[in-house]
């Protein structure tokens, strides 16, 4: 009796009416457009009137080489940026929780680019990657190396942009790894020391398995971030040269600019499905290897 009345009281106290302001904004400007995108992706559309054309937009997206190059590029971009952020982030995380006296300084320096404007970073690096004038190639020339045309060569332009993405984003991965490493109890390391393990054992048998939750966060965050990436590529190459750095998100923008709203929306739905198909299994797979403390 007592319990039932308490739950009733708490239902009144924690009323779902509190969710209305957030719920309305979130529904109208996020969920509703997402649901409608499935319909509008099957239309030819000028924002006022639409013709239903079935799967034609999808067929165009998959058959036109200037559009479907985006799938390959986006996947490469996400895998490269995610992989480098995990490796470099973990190395930096281990280094910055070790006995170095300057770790406070290093943490700040590595983290600061995360807060900068992506457009500003893109512009600054474009100028440093200039083939003849740029700082990078001039430095390489001092060592007698002829540097490539970082953003003008179709075979490496995408990787150059991915490199800048890592420069800007590795700080985020690093602080997540630092938090993960710091949460590992010191006892484990002490036990290993008694057993006579070296630095490699410390890393491989303790840090590596126990940092799994942090690593999963980094993988998921940076992989999804990579799949959805747009502004850095747009600031540095606008998808060029040719279509060699076009990502799905930049193709969505180009089609929108061109007035192909249905086609643009089809790109959005493909990205939505792609992110879900890749991210959810990844989430499951990764949570299996988490070790409970």
């Amino acid at each position: 009796m007592q319990k039932a009345s308490l739950t009733k009281a708490s239902k009144r106290l924690y009323t779902y009416k509190f969710l209305l302001p957030a719920g309305i904004i979130y529904f109208v400007l996020f969920l509703l457009p997402t649901i409608m995108s499935f319909f509008f992706s099957m239309t030819r559309w000028d924002l006022v009137e639409w013709d239903f054309i079935g799967f034609d937009n999808y067929k165009t997206f998959f058959s036109e080489s200037s559009l479907n190059i985006g799938f390959r590029n986006t996947l490469i971009y996400a895998v490269v940026t995610c992989g480098l952020k995990v490796i470099l982030g973990l190395l930096l995380g281990v280094a910055l929780t070790s006995g170095l006296r300057i770790k406070g300084y290093l943490r700040s320096v590595v983290f600061f680019p995360t807060l900068l404007s992506t457009i500003a970073v893109g512009i600054a690096f474009s100028s440093m990657m200039h083939p003849s004038q740029g700082l990078i190639n001039k430095s390489l020339a001092l060592a007698g190396i002829v540097g490539p045309d970082w953003l003008g060569d179709t075979s490496i332009a995408l990787l150059s942009v991915a490199f800048v993405d890592v420069w800007k984003g590795v700080g985020m991965a690093t602080v997540i790894f630092i938090a993960g490493i710091m949460s590992i109890p010191e006892d484990y390391y002490e036990a290993l020391q008694i057993d006579g393990g070296n630095a490699w054992d410390r890393f491989w048998h303790i840090t590596n398995p126990l940092v799994a939750p942090a690593m999963n966060s980094v993988i998921i965050l940076s992989f999804i971030g990579g799949l959805r990436s747009f502004d850095l590529v747009w600031a540095m190459t606008k998808g060029g040269p040719g279509f060699s750095t076009d990502l799905i998100a930049s193709i969505i923008y180009k089609q929108y600019q061109g007035g192909f709203y249905g086609l643009s929306t089809a790109g959005n739905v493909i990205l939505f499905i792609g992110v879900s198909l890749l991210a959810f299994p990844l989430l499951k797979l990764l949570s299996k290897r988490e070790v409970d403390l």
């Binding site: 509190f18 924002l47 943490r107 440093m128 700082l135 929108y256 879900s276």
Partner: protein, 276 residues
């Protein structure tokens, strides 16, 4: 890890040199060249300016009828308004979602978290904004920023609510507080630490946002600070000095936040990521 004498000093020296080459050189490069004249800056090198031109900064600020200043005001307004709305609605949501534990709260929880992964559907959002007459308006972009920031903010508020004991709510109810008053007078002040984290993180995100203003707030009069910088790349495509001066101006607000809230930012980002 215990490191000894010379080994530690060697490692530290290497680390400092690497950090200078990888992180400081780009900053010096942009600052130095923002102070050069046009011809010197076109060389894109690290030489000291032959004459220091502070006038580059005034030129950027006054160009095109004070476009940069107007866009600074726009960006500041959008950021402030979005943060206020975001904090209020997300705190209320996080509070109820954490306190209730039934079938509905699970479904709502799932929908909220989906927002962290799913890319927003761009053109349908424009269509919705247009139908409610908010496309290209300040209100429209503010509501979009709130809608796309809710998931992250609710996640932080919800996990922080778990640290506030239910007994506080119950005591307040015994004292005769209504649910809304109870929340804003008793609970909301207790959420201060996580509120400040959300304020700092979301304001950096919204201030630096390029994509949403590009789609939902277009037009020369409406420019936000990131759109102005982007437009300058074609306007000043041979004047690197002015472009770099603009970059420095734009980077000042995040730099100030970083100096004052460094610890708070890092704590917030990791709290969300590691527990989540």
């Amino acid at each position: 890890m215990r490191l000894k004498g010379t080994k530690r000093i060697t490692l530290e020296t290497i680390a400092v040199i690497l950090s200078i080459v990888i992180f400081w050189v780009p900053f010096f490069f942009v600052i130095l060249n923002s102070l050069k004249n046009k011809t010197d800056a076109a060389l894109l090198d690290l030489s000291w300016p032959s004459s220091i031109q502070w006038s580059n900064y005034t030129e950027v600020l006054t160009a095109q009828d004070h476009m940069v200043i107007r866009s600074f005001i726009n960006s500041t307004l959008i950021t402030l308004l979005s943060i206020v709305v975001l904090i209020i609605v997300s705190a209320m949501t996080g509070y109820v979602l954490q306190r209730r534990n039934d079938r509905w709260s699970g479904i709502i929880q799932f929908l909220v978290m989906a927002g962290l992964m799913i890319p927003p559907a761009v053109v349908p959002t424009i269509w919705v904004l247009d139908s409610i007459h908010l496309f290209k308006t300040m209100t429209g972009i503010v509501l979009v920023e709130v809608a796309l920031g809710i998931s992250f903010a609710v996640m932080l508020f919800r996990s922080f609510m778990a640290t506030i004991p239910r007994e506080i709510d119950e005591a307040a109810v015994v004292d005769g507080c209504g649910s809304l008053r109870m929340f804003f007078q008793i609970i909301f002040p207790l959420l201060m630490p996580v509120t400040s984290t959300v304020v700092v993180l979301s304001s950096v995100g919204i201030y630096n946002d390029f994509v949403n203003p590009l789609y939902f707030f277009p037009g020369a009069k409406n420019a936000t600070i990131q759109l102005t910088l982007y437009n300058f790349t074609s306007m000043y495509n041979t004047s690197w000095n002015l472009l770099f001066a603009d970059i420095i101006l734009i980077s000042i607000p995040p730099l100030i936040l970083f100096i004052f809230f460094n610890k708070r930012i890092v704590a917030g980002m990791t709290a969300g990521a590691v527990k989540g």
